[in-house]
């Protein structure tokens, strides 16, 4: 998923360090396969995710339905894949939104400097103390089925940490000799941003992005769990967990499989983020 970004770093030793971190490598493999399976689900799912078959409702896992069926007789495995597609999609796109906003805001703050920078960072501090979950919930209700707006809302509240980290790093770089050299050679601000800031920020950005995805997916799941996000017949992991929790007494398999897959995905993302940070972030201390 974030592999192409990391590849462009081209740091041999970083890659070697990363490959030694077995937890991170297994997490990357797990994430790649689960993403592949989910995004290919329209082709490989055993049943259409919305096909109801009331004759086979609420069946425990069997050879025909590997993960059982829900109350309407829909195949849980197929729904799990389709839900994963939505959850992962929200995770990636909203993180991309947060990345763009965070990088622009952070670099801009470091570039303008002085009072304006202080004010911009104080703004970030204040916004991050607000009950943003409430705002996201409201946004998803307002924009309803409009998926792009949901991405914007979720991404719009997830960029704060990113902006803080990017600004700190940019500020350090701005004072460094290679940036001063570029300035004295007459390179434009945009050129410095493109040629110097971005490549040096790439490692941090990759780590930040990996660690933002789980938060974003959790937020989407929260909203769907409350019944305010993704609407039927589509589903997402959060929504499946909610539906499973409602009838866990009779059909525990409806709760168990989405819970496990969701938790494993979050766990892998955290492992991967930690592994990337250890391998590529020069500042991280390796103990």
């Amino acid at each position: 998923m974030s592999d192409p970004i990391v590849e462009s770093l081209g740091s041999e030793s970083g890659w070697q360090r990363f490959l030694k971190d077995r937890a991170a490598v297994w997490s990357a493999c797990f994430l790649l396969s689960i993403s592949a399976v989910c995004f290919l689900s329209p082709m490989i799912a055993p049943y259409p995710y919305m096909e109801q078959n009331l004759a086979h409702s609420a069946m425990a896992p069997s050879s025909a339905h590997w993960l059982g069926t829900d109350l309407l007789g829909r195949d849980v495995l197929s729904r799990l894949l389709q839900g994963g597609m939505i959850s992962l999609f929200v995770g990636f796109i909203a993180t991309a939104v947060a990345l763009v906003v965070g990088i622009c805001y952070g670099v801009l703050a470091a570039e303008v400097g002085g009072r304006a920078e202080d004010a911009m960072m104080r703004f970030v501090d204040i916004v991050s103390t607000l009950p943003l979950t409430l705002i996201v919930i409201l946004c998803t209700v307002v924009f309803g089925q409009n998926m792009p707006m949901i991405f914007l809302a979720v991404g719009g509240v997830s960029w704060l940490t990113m902006a803080r980290i990017i600004r700190n790093q940019t500020r350090e770089m701005k004072a460094s000799q290679f940036v001063q050299a570029a300035e004295s050679l007459g390179q434009s601000r945009w050129g410095i941003f493109r040629r110097h800031y971005l490549p040096n920020l790439a490692g941090t950005i990759a780590v930040c992005a990996t660690l933002t995805v789980p938060g974003v997916m959790l937020l989407e799941a929260f909203v769907s769990f409350l019944g305010l996000g993704v609407k039927a017949p589509m589903t997402s992991w959060g929504l499946m967990i909610k539906e499973g929790a409602d009838i866990m007494e009779e059909c525990p398999w409806l709760l168990i499989s989405p819970s496990i897959v969701f938790a494993l995905t979050l766990l892998s993302l955290n492992f991967l983020g930690d592994g990337l940070r250890d391998a590529f972030d020069p500042r991280s201390s390796r103990k």
Partner: protein, 305 residues
């Protein structure tokens, strides 16, 4: 004192922005508060809207709302006729506050000692096992842990009621779910910062001059190591808020979180605004409290401002 006053004054514009943003969002929610009932005659609906001031242009409504808010009036609730929003919130806030406080207390009482214990014997089983659990705690969201705990302890073992509210025993499952979720990052943070602090020079000095090891550990090291942990309590409180929406819906707890969700579903604009303001104010105060606690722990921070 001047600092506290400045921070309190700073809250006013922040809250104002929250009010305005929420106001427009709440008004942009498709559907009105009277759409769900049996269709009523147009005259009745017009009278109702006039009564609640919903017939006026949005900016006039907003102005009226802010003026009343300044007087401490949160307006009438639409879905609870005859109740003001303040009464509706007042009737439920105690439940949420007590649940949140118990969960926070539980998180600190579990998280910090576990972190200290793990840091005292790094890389032993005393470290690995609890840290493995905290990793699970970070990745299993509250809406997964809650049902699983309910599945085990009330449906499987039958020790606890699966949902409801009223007696102390109803507290156990929701408070444990919220508390354990919050305890996990606290434990990792405590361990991490203790590991950093214990390799510092002043700890070695204290050891060298013969301070008893336990005193070094708890008085010298822990005081400094707790700073990041206290800082984290602000975000932790925010996590408790979003957790409480889910937990209260899950365990059927009559608190503020569920009130907010039902207010959205009912399109009760006044109630949405009221709950959001209460939450925002609570979070701002908690952050201020965390900052003051840090200043109390660390004289350097207190001097800097």
């Amino acid at each position: 004192m001047a600092y506290v006053l400045r921070r309190l004054l700073e809250m006013v514009p922040v809250l104002l922005v929250v009010v305005v943003a929420t106001f427009f969002l709440a008004h942009a929610v498709p559907g009105g508060p009277f759409d769900k009932d049996r269709p009523m005659p147009a005259e009745v609906k017009a009278r109702l809207e006039q009564y609640y001031g919903l017939d006026q242009p949005t900016h006039v409504q907003l102005g009226n709302y802010i003026v009343r808010l300044a007087q401490g009036d949160l307006g009438p609730s639409i879905k609870y006729p005859g109740w003001s929003v303040r009464e509706v919130i007042g009737a439920r806030i105690g439940v949420s506050v007590s649940l949140g406080l118990v969960a926070l207390l539980l998180a600190v009482l579990v998280g910090v000692p576990v972190g200290v214990l793990a840091a005292s014997r790094p890389n032993s089983w005393l470290d690995r096992v609890p840290m493995g659990f905290t990793l699970v705690g970070i990745c299993v969201p509250s809406f997964v842990l809650g049902p699983i705990l309910a599945l085990i302890f009330s449906l499987g073992l039958g020790w606890l009621p699966p949902c409801g509210w009223g007696s102390a025993i109803h507290f156990v499952l929701p408070a444990c779910t919220l508390g354990l979720i919050t305890a996990a990052p606290l434990a990792r943070l405590t361990r991490g910062s203790l590991m950093e602090v214990r390799s510092l020079d002043y700890i070695r000095t204290a050891r060298a001059k013969g301070v008893p090891p336990l005193r070094v550990w708890f008085v010298h090291a822990l005081r400094n190591a707790l700073l990041p942990v206290v800082t984290y309590l602000g975000p932790a409180a925010a996590g408790l808020v979003s957790g409480s929406f889910v937990i209260e819906s899950l365990f059927d707890v009559p608190g503020l979180g569920r009130l907010f969700v039902t207010a959205i579903i009912n399109r009760d604009v006044m109630l949405i605004l009221g709950t959001t303001i209460v939450y925002a104010a609570a979070l701002l105060f908690l952050n201020l409290a965390a900052d003051l606690a840090i200043a109390a722990l660390n004289p350097k921070v207190a001097r800097d401002r």
